[in-house]
Amino acid sequence: MSEIIRFFIGFFLVVGGFLSLVTAFGLVRLPDVYTRNHAASKSATLGVMSILLATFLYFYLEHGHFNSRLILAIIFIFVTAPVAGHLISRAAYNSGVKLWDKSVRDDLKNKAEYERQNSQ
């Protein structure tokens, strides 16, 4: 029983660490703000969440200490990380950061016209 628990704790820790590493790689390798944001807002979320989950499981199952703050932290990260990613990429676009040269489509530049047509 406790071996299985230890296996899961270690598994979550390794996955969390690996995903954080992939986030860092993505930030270095990907070409522009928006694609980097993909890496940062997804992998970092799940990476930090699984590390927190492993911490929670460790203290609960090995020491019998139920720390509800870790659960709250998981929920807060789950809710706030995508909003942060959205806001950063929106601010980048509105302040005129260019997309990557190989981007094939940009519907957002039609937004002003769309608003003008539908505003009356």
Binding site: L19, D32, S41, L46, Y93, L99, K111
Partner: protein
């Protein structure tokens, strides 16, 4: 929905007062009995029986979790691929959802899905501008988002 939950709590308290035992066990018994009563009288409420909506919320949560894991595998593949041969772009996604919280929920779900990230919402709440990491599957992505997420959110808000 909130009214039904409040009514259920009220019925549980009535049960505690009727049986003169103020423990959490009698509260739970009263709550389950109140649930039966509300189920029996469901045609007098103007919204659905609220447990259905609770079930829809739970299934939406699991959809969220599943998409988060799939998204991570997709990002992993993109980042660790030796050649950068994907084609990013921004596409417009028309949505039928109307209230603000539904749109927020949909935007969060899309941001956590494989290869998509919400960039902007038009002022009339009808179009979401989504940045996709690989645009050739964009049309397919629109269909999938429409079929799975929008439906799940409508299931909650109906």
């Amino acid at each position: 929905m909130a009214f039904q939950i409040l009514l259920n709590f009220f019925l549980a308290f009535v049960w505690m007062f009727l049986s003169v035992s103020f423990t959490s066990q009698s509260f739970i018994i009263g709550f389950l009995l109140g649930l039966l009563v509300i189920f029996a009288f469901r045609r007098f409420f103007n919204s659905r029986f609220y447990l259905l909506r609770v079930a829809a919320v739970i299934s939406l949560f699991f959809l969220f979790l599943k998409e988060l894991i799939l998204a991570n595998i997709a990002v992993l593949k993109t980042v660790l691929k030796p050649k950068m041969d994907f084609q990013p772009g921004i596409f417009a996604l028309p949505t039928e959802l109307q209230t603000d919280w539904e749109i927020t929920l949909l935007a969060n779900l899309i941001t956590l899905t494989p290869g998509t990230l919400v960039m902007d919402v038009s002022y009339d709440n009808k179009i979401l501008y989504v940045h996709a990491i690989d645009i050739p599957d964009a049309d397919q992505a629109i269909d999938e988002i429409k079929n799975s997420f929008e439906k799940a959110i409508m299931e909650v808000s109906r």
